[in-house]
Each structure stands twice: as structure tokens, then as C-alpha cells.
């Protein structure tokens, strides 16, 4: 009996050391995907790709928020991912040694705006999978109800006239005063500041003051050595953040336990008129049980913080979703990855999958106008991008030094909202943590 047990154990040990080898087929492309919400779509793409070309796309998706960890362990294996994803300049800096120069690839030639790619020196190392946009989402039904009020204190008659922070602020305050007549609990949805749920503010909102600071200082963001910032537009940030806090559905002291899903649910149920978020939020709004917002009433407003010349400002458009090809993979494997990207963004069936399965607004010239996504927020982003006289704000936040920096800033914002921290402390934390984390 013991003998059998011992033999079994030895076999187990040997077996354990053998698992993990093999599976290295020549026509198989290993892709490590970082968006769990896209996993199902990529599986459909893999099936279609196999059907059309006979090649296998092996999609592995890292669990939410664990992409860096997964990539770290996967890429040191012998069967490493050939196609992987970067979140921007910071991600590129971390994975420099593994990023192949893509400037000669077919897919790069189709990129509508070369500035969207991650480049360094002469080389191009990350190409965008998608562009996304964010701003203040509003429910037109409620704002129309406000404009129909006879006793309102502002002179504005439609959302088209809201073209500055001043206008937005006046309107929002007056809406709060009339919130019972409008049937809402607050103008803005809860400012979700629970740790891990605070990215709408520590990252997305912070994009604007930093964008204006760099514009003013003529700082080129493709240069990646911005180790210090002044946060000189912090008062602008504060005035909009205060507006969010004071005209909200939720008491600021309770924001530490609010999640993004809570805020989106409030919007979907018509309990508030506005919420700051991006076009990816559509599925969330749509998925809320008993939602009352009609899709034709969901619109975008740019995030106005009161900076000079903001009446021509548009939505914040960019991406945190880049493709990169493993420089340490064999040339045959790299070719496989290039072919796949070209197929995905140039072939008819690939384009169809990108638009309808992934729901991406693809920044490639192979896409015609009628191939833009059909969801209301995606459409709005597309329209805002093509509006005359409107300057789209790039996603400067991709150069924010680290996740730690963002988390610490988010935590400080929460303490400020709760009344436990002075604004000046938040500003100095922003600057010192930026410097420390860039070192």
C-alpha cells in the first residue's frame, strides 16, 4: 500500500515538472488581452480568424486589474505572449525591452493620426486598438425639463449654450435649487471615491488641469521625462470637483464607500442629471434594471474647468489600450502577430468584429463613417471628434507616473471631500508624489 502511495507521489512530482511544456504550435498566436470585458468578443474573433485563415489565435485574458502581474509571469515563460497590450507611455517604459518596432507594419500605415501611437525616437512601439472618449454625460430629458422651467435663474435655453465652466456652474446650482421640481435627488451622480473606484477623478478629471498646464508651458508629452509638475490649474480642478460634491445625490462624507456602478445606476434610474464618465459606460447604463434613461437622450458635454479658451474644448479622447509585439519572440511568430492585426483592422470581417463585437471606435483610415459604433455614447464621441472648431483633449494622463500616485491622490481627494484634509495638502501631495513616483 505504502509502495503504491510512494510511487504515485513520485509520478506526481515528475508530472508536475513536465506540465507547461508543449503547446508550441507554429500557427498559434498567443495574445494576452487586458480587458476582461472584451474577452468574449476576442473569442469570437479567434473563431472567425481560424475559419478564414486557418490560423489559431490563443486569447488569454488577465483578471481585472492584474494585467501587469500576469504579463510579468507569462512573458518570462518559454511560450510567452507574442501579442500583448500596453496602457501607454508608462507601460512602454516598463516593457521597453520587449516591444518591437512597428513602424514598418501594414497596420501602422493605416493609422489615421500617427500621434496616437506610442513612439520613441524613430521607432513606433505601441499602436492603439481603439479610441475612447469621456466627458460629462447628461440626460437630455432632465436638462430639457430644466430649460422649460419658467422660474429658473439662468438665461440659458439649451445645452448648446453651455460652453464654459461659468455657464455650467450657474446652471448646475440653479438646478440644485429646483431639484424637487425636476424630480432628481441631485444634479451629479455620487462622486465615487472608494479606493479602486476613484479613477474618474484621480485620473480622468486630473487630465484637464495637467493638459492645460502642459499647453501653457509648451511641454511635449511624447517626451517621457516629465518628472515634476506645478499643478498650476489646481484651483480650476477644485472648483469643478466642489461643484460635483456640493450638487450631488450623496453627502460627501459617505463617498468613501461609493462605487462607479452606484453612480451609473443613479444616472440610469434618472435620479441625477449628469455623471462624468466615458463611452464605455453605455453597457453599464443599459444593464441597470428598471433604467429610465432613453438612449436618444444620452449626450456628452466636455468637462469645463474654467481654463482660458475652453469654449472650443471638446471631449477627452485617447486610449489606454495599445497593441505591442514581443521583441523577444521568433520572427515567424512576430509575423503572425502583424498579420493578425492587419486582418483585424483592414479585412471586412475583421472590421465588422471590431465595430460590432468589441464596440471600438477604431482610429484607422480603413473604417468608413458608417462603420462607427451604434451605441449613443460612442456616436457622441465620434460626432464631437468631427465637430468643426472643437479641439479634442488628448489623454495626457497616460504619463501619470504610477498606479500608486493615482491611488494616493484619490485617497487624498476622499479625505478632502470628507473635510479631513485641506485643499493645499492635496495639492502638495499631488506634486510630491508625482516627483517621488517619477524618480
Amino acid at each position: 500500500m505504502k509502495k503504491i502511495l510512494a510511487i504515485t507521489l513520485i509520478c506526481l512530482v515528475l508530472l508536475g515538472s513536465m506540465v507547461g511544456c508543449s503547446r508550441n504550435d507554429e500557427n498559434t498566436l498567443y495574445f494576452l488581452n487586458f480587458k476582461p470585458e472584451s474577452a468574449a468578443a476576442y473569442n469570437k474573433i479567434a473563431a472567425k480568424y481560424k475559419e478564414e485563415t486557418g490560423k489559431t489565435l490563443r486569447v488569454v485574458t488577465a483578471a481585472s486589474g492584474t494585467y501587469e502581474q500576469t504579463l510579468k509571469s507569462e512573458i518570462s515563460k518559454s511560450d510567452a505572449p507574442v501579442l500583448f497590450q500596453l496602457n501607454g507611455v508608462i507601460g512602454y517604459n516598463a516593457w521597453k525591452d520587449y516591444c518591437k518596432d512597428l513602424s514598418d507594419t501594414e497596420i501602422y500605415k493605416h493609422l489615421s493620426d500617427p500621434q496616437l501611437a506610442i513612439s520613441s525616437g524613430e521607432g513606433v512601439y505601441g499602436i492603439p486598438a481603439v479610441v475612447e472618449g469621456y466627458g460629462i454625460i447628461y440626460n437630455k430629458e432632465i436638462t430639457d425639463r430644466y430649460f422649460a422651467l419658467t422660474n429658473r435663474a439662468t438665461k440659458y435655453a439649451s445645452m448648446d449654450e453651455i460652453r464654459s465652466f461659468e455657464a455650467l456652474s450657474a446652471m448646475v446650482r440653479d438646478m440644485t435649487a429646483h431639484k424637487d421640481e425636476l424630480g432628481i435627488r441631485g444634479v451629479f451622480a455620487a462622486t465615487s471615491l472608494k479606493s479602486g473606484e476613484d479613477w474618474r477623478f484621480q485620473t480622468h478629471l486630473a487630465n484637464l488641469p495637467i493638459y492645460y498646464e502642459f499647453e501653457k508651458g509648451n511641454i511635449d508629452i511624447s517626451r517621457d521625462d516629465i518628472s515634476e509638475v506645478d499643478f498650476s490649474y489646481n484651483t480650476h480642478y477644485k472648483q469643478l470637483f466642489d461643484l460635483y460634491l456640493n450638487n450631488s445625490t450623496t453627502d460627501p462624507k459617505l463617498l468613501g464607500s461609493k462605487q462607479v456602478a452606484d453612480s451609473m445606476a443613479e444616472f440610469a434610474l434618472g435620479q441625477c442629471a449628469m455623471v462624468q464618465n466615458g463611452n464605455w459606460a453605455w453597457s453599464q447604463i443599459q444593464g441597470v434594471n428598471g433604467n429610465t434613461v432613453k438612449s436618444e437622450n444620452i449626450k456628452f458635454l466636455p468637462i469645463y474647468i474654467g481654463a482660458e479658451g475652453e469654449n472650443t474644448q471638446g471631449l477627452c479622447v485617447g486610449t489606454e489600450n495599445y497593441f505591442a509585439i514581443n521583441a523577444k519572440a521568433t520572427p515567424e511568430k512576430q509575423k503572425l502577430a502583424e498579420d493578425f492585426l492587419a486582418w483585424l483592422y483592414t479585412s471586412e470581417s475583421g472590421k465588422d468584429l471590431v465595430t460590432n463585437e468589441l464596440g471600438f471606435i477604431a482610429p484607422y483610415d480603413t473604417f468608413e463613417e458608417d462603420e462607427a459604433p451604434s451605441d449613443p455614447l460612442g456616436k457622441e464621441v465620434y460626432e464631437w471628434m468631427n465637430k468643426d472648431g472643437v479641439n479634442t483633449v488628448p489623454w495626457v494622463f497616460s504619463i501619470f507616473p504610477s498606479q500608486n500616485f493615482k491611488s494616493d491622490f484619490g485617497a487624498a481627494l476622499l479625505q478632502y471631500a470628507q473635510g479631513n484634509k485641506e485643499w493645499s495638502e492635496v495639492v502638495s501631495l499631488f506634486k510630491t508624489r508625482w516627483k517621488e513616483e517619477s524618480a
Partner: protein, 281 residues
């Protein structure tokens, strides 16, 4: 026979030895080595000497803050868990009605994972605090006591079982003798019961001490360090250093090595102290 056993004995150890090497010794040594390097993946490490260890204390105060928070938490929870578990064990060895049911009920929380417990208690505590118009992230004290309550709730049942076993092992003659000699309840407890359950106390303090010191999931799920990083314990700080920023993997690894040394040190000291108080029956 003897001779050949001595000569080839190691051969029979080999399978176990290989497993031990692969699963423990090699990763451990690799981990220590990585703490002296700068790396992104384990295969491209660059030696930097003691740099990482210096940076733990010079980059920011996170590690020290986490250390003191952990120490405070450990002291409070070791005392409270053991005290309450011991009292419960005393009550549940008195032959009360429904003893078995109570033992099971108190043990149950231990079967639930830390992350789940963290989220459940977050809901409960936030529900209570919302009556005051605040939530768990409002003050560090809320998070601290929340963690203590959570730890107690989870660990008491387990420790209680160990104490119950210890108490049941005391020969009843000793209690009878003490009663005949006129010792009261407290004197019996102090001079008979406590010395004889000392082995259980050793085990229980060891388990609570090392579990509180190494706590991660409950901390991660309940407070996540909020407000700021004020309720961040050592393990969470290491996790955030390693995964939260670029180029700090080496520092995170160095923190982990220090953490190992600390845990080992504390556990050894505690074992030595409580062992010295054990008596033979």
C-alpha cells in the same frame, strides 16, 4: 545492511528532497536574491546591492507607518482573541446544554475566506456608521477597530476549539483535590487550569500572532488602506509597492524579505517565552 543503508540512504530521500527544493528552497533563495536586484521579470534582474533596502526607509515612510500600525493591531488582537476564546472555552466545557451547537456556531466564521468576510463586514460597519453620516474611510480609528472586530470574529472560534481540547485534557482529580483543599474558583483557575493549558496557550498565541502580523486579505477587502494609507498593514504595503508602481519591484521584494525576518523573529521570541511556562502533567 547497515553499511549500505548509510551509503545509499540519501537516495531514498531524493524524491522528497527534489520536491522540497523545487517548491520551497529555490523560490526562497531566488526571492532573497531578487531583493538585491532591480527587475521587471525574474529573468532580467540586475544586481544593485543594498540599494533596495536603503530605499525602503528613504523613499517614503509607508513601510514604517505600516509596521507600527501592524504592531498595534497585533497586540490588540492577540490579547482580545485569546482572552475571549479562552472565556468561551471555559463556558463551553462546563457541560451546558447545547454545547456542541455553540461550538459549531462559533467555529463557523473561520470557514469563510478573508476577502468575503472583509466585504461583509464593510457592509455591516458602513451600515452602522451611516447612522452618523460617515463611513469606514472617515477616520483611521474606524478602520483599526473594524479590523480588530473582524479578526476576533474570524479567529475566536478556532482558538476556542484548541482551548477546549486543552481544558478537557486536565485530569478532573486535580480540580477535586483543589476543591477539597479549599481553593476557590479563581485560585483553581490561576494555579491549576492556566499552567496546565499552557501548551494550548503557546499554540494559540503563535497562531494569532503570526496571523495578525501577516494579515492581508481582510485588510485589503475591508479598508484597502483608507483613509490614505493610514490603515495599511505590512503585507498590503508590500503588495502595493510591488504591483502599484513601475521600477519598485526590487524594493517590494526587499520589504518582503524584511517582513519574513520580522515574522520569524517575533514568532521565535513568543515561542521561547510561552514554552518556558509550560509544565509537565
Amino acid at each position: 545492511m547497515q553499511k549500505s543503508l548509510r551509503k545509499y540512504g540519501w537516495l531514498f530521500l531524493l524524491p522528497t528532497l527534489i520536491a522540497f527544493l523545487i517548491a520551497f528552497v529555490i523560490p526562497f533563495l531566488a526571492g532573497v536574491w531578487l531583493s538585491f536586484t532591480e527587475f521587471t521579470t525574474v529573468t532580467n534582474a540586475k544586481f544593485v546591492g543594498l540599494d533596495n533596502y536603503i530605499r525602503i526607509f528613504t523613499d517614503n515612510r509607508d513601510f514604517l507607518n505600516a509596521f507600527w500600525f501592524t504592531v498595534k493591531f497585533t497586540v490588540v488582537s492577540v490579547v482580545s482573541v485569546n482572552l475571549l476564546a479562552f472565556i468561551l472555552a471555559l463556558l463551553l466545557t462546563k457541560g451546558l446544554r447545547g454545547t456542541n451547537f455553540f461550538r459549531t456556531a462559533f467555529f463557523m466564521p473561520n470557514l469563510i475566506g478573508g476577502i468575503v468576510l472583509g466585504y461583509i463586514w464593510q457592509l455591516i460597519i458602513n451600515g452602522v456608521l451611516s447612522g452618523m453620516g460617515v463611513d469606514l474611510t472617515y477616520r483611521a480609528e474606524y478602520g483599526f477597530w473594524g479590523l480588530v472586530v473582524l479578526m476576533n470574529w474570524q479567529m475566536i472560534g478556532y482558538m476556542m476549539i484548541i482551548y477546549v481540547a486543552g481544558l478537557q485534557n486536565i485530569p478532573s482529580e486535580l480540580h477535586e483535590v483543589a476543591a477539597i483543599d479549599g481553593a476557590g474558583g479563581f485560585a483553581t483557575l490561576r494555579h491549576i487550569t492556566l499552567p496546565l493549558v499552557m501548551p494550548s496557550i503557546t499554540i494559540c498565541t503563535f497562531l494569532t500572532l503570526s496571523n495578525s502580523f501577516k494579515m492581508f486579505d481582510q485588510n485589503y477587502a475591508l479598508t484597502g488602506g483608507a483613509p490614505g494609507k493610514e490603515t495599511q498593514m505590512l503585507a498590503l504595503d508590500i503588495y502595493n509597492t510591488f504591483y502599484g508602481s513601475v521600477g519598485n519591484e526590487g524594493v517590494g521584494q526587499a520589504k518582503a524579505v524584511l517582513f519574513f525576518v520580522l515574522v520569524a523573529l517575533v514568532a521565535l521570541i513568543q515561542l521561547r517565552i510561552t514554552r518556558a511556562r509550560e509544565v509537565e502533567t
